[in-house]
């Protein structure tokens, strides 16, 4: 009995494999780029670049961690003097892309004195499930309209502290850079520990209090 091969039914031969795989790859790239171009929630090719502006030279991220009280007192002072760490040049482009980071103690100090606004960059569902009290939700997938609303509520001189889920999460950095480049905020810091660190220090107490409240008759 004749097999399909003996009958000459076309089958891909291994040498043609690489050509076909290359074609698949090329097609995927073409489709992906085309789809992304028309996709309203597509990726913008360089973080925070709106069309027409020259590309931002990406400086290496320099993390300045302020761990002493003296340092953050100076921070607080500089904040009230309205001199953010991300100075803008004339033309609105940030001088560097280095981001300052904060610990929970510093963040707590800033927000309790209302010296800064705490921004939660996680998706809205994560925010709804639990967030640091007093934080404003501004997901990294935010639309231009929502960002405009945020800008309307908090003017560009407002110091911001952005957080995400934990130190491994890159979204806070991404959002912070976006707020600097796209929205023109002059003083944006990243609370690297994020929701995870808050939960470890304060959240447990909150959970305990909630549990206790629930157990009351």
């Amino acid at each position: 009995m004749n097999t399909p091969k003996e009958l000459g039914i076309a089958r891909q031969m291994p040498p043609r494999l690489t050509r076909q795989m290359a074609a698949l790859l090329a097609l995927s790239i073409a489709l992906g780029v085309a789809f992304n171009a028309v996709n309203p929630i597509g990726i913008k090719y360089s973080v925070g670049i709106s069309s027409g502006t020259p590309p931002l030279r990406e400086a290496p991220a320099v993390r300045i961690s302020h761990s002493t009280n003296g340092a953050y007192q100076n921070e607080l002072l500089s904040l009230t003097l309205n001199e953010g760490p991300n100075q803008t040049r004339p033309g609105g482009m940030p001088a560097t892309t280095s981001l300052q980071t904060t610990t929970w103690a510093e963040t707590k100090a800033f927000i309790s004195t209302q010296a800064a606004v705490l921004v939660d960059a996680r998706p809205a569902t994560a925010f709804a499930a639990g967030h640091i009290p007093g934080a404003v939700s501004l997901p990294f997938t935010t639309t231009a309209a929502d960002l405009a609303e945020f800008q309307r509520r908090h003017d560009p001189r407002t110091p911001l502290i952005v957080y995400c889920a934990n130190a491994a999460c890159p979204i806070a950095d991404y959002m912070a850079k976006k707020l600097i480049s796209d929205a023109g905020y002059q003083s944006v810091r990243v609370f690297t520990g994020g929701y995870g660190e808050w939960q470890r220090t304060e959240g447990i107490q909150t959970a305990g209090a909630t549990l206790q409240a629930r157990m009351q008759p």
């Binding site: 795989m21 995927s28 491994a168 991404y174 929701y195």
Partner: protein, 168 residues
């Protein structure tokens, strides 16, 4: 292995891979910035534009491969791409696990499974170890399927009536 059983196993593996890649492709294409953020979390030593291109093109490659596998068309090429992708993912998750990177940032929920972001099941499903072993299993399965199909060219099996059926 009994020829019918082998064909069934091959069909199942092919369809499973096809479906998995289709599902992965759709969920990645639906959230491109989240996908990009998850790529950044792997902290790969590649320039950002390359990672951005990968974030844009990868879902489509997965989509095409998934569709081809399910449709039983150009299966060898699709499997070749699938194996290459899986090896890539294996390398990425492996280095993340080795370096102790916590890629389970808790941002992406398995909400459709009814899990909260802090549930231990979610943490497990998002953990890098689970990702690594899942990729390992898929790589082995895809590699085996590809090997079986390519091996047929080198040593055509003796004609049997089942050979006339569409090749799984």
């Amino acid at each position: 292995m009994n020829i019918n059983l082998e064909i069934n196993v091959r069909t199942s593996v092919r369809c499973l891979l096809g479906f998995l890649f289709l599902w992965a492709a759709v969920s990645k294409a639906a959230n491109p910035t989240e996908f990009l953020a998850s790529i950044y979390a792997y902290d790969l030593p590649l320039p950002r534009p390359i990672l951005q291109l990968a974030a844009v093109a990868l879902p489509w490659l997965e989509l095409l491969c998934g569709l081809l596998l399910l449709a039983n068309l150009y299966v060898e090429s699709a499997l070749g791409c699938v194996v290459a992708l899986l090896i890539l993912f294996l390398a990425a998750t492996g280095q993340a696990w080795f370096r102790g990177l916590d890629i389970a940032c808790g941002c992406f929920q398995f909400g459709f499974l009814g899990l909260s972001p802090s549930a231990s099941a979610t943490k497990f499903l998002e953990s890098v170890a689970f990702a690594f072993f899942r990729n390992l299993v898929l790589t082995v399965a895809a590699g085996w399927l590809l090997w079986e199909r390519i091996a047929e060219f080198r040593q055509p099996s003796p004609p049997v009536s089942t050979q006339l059926a569409p090749h799984p």
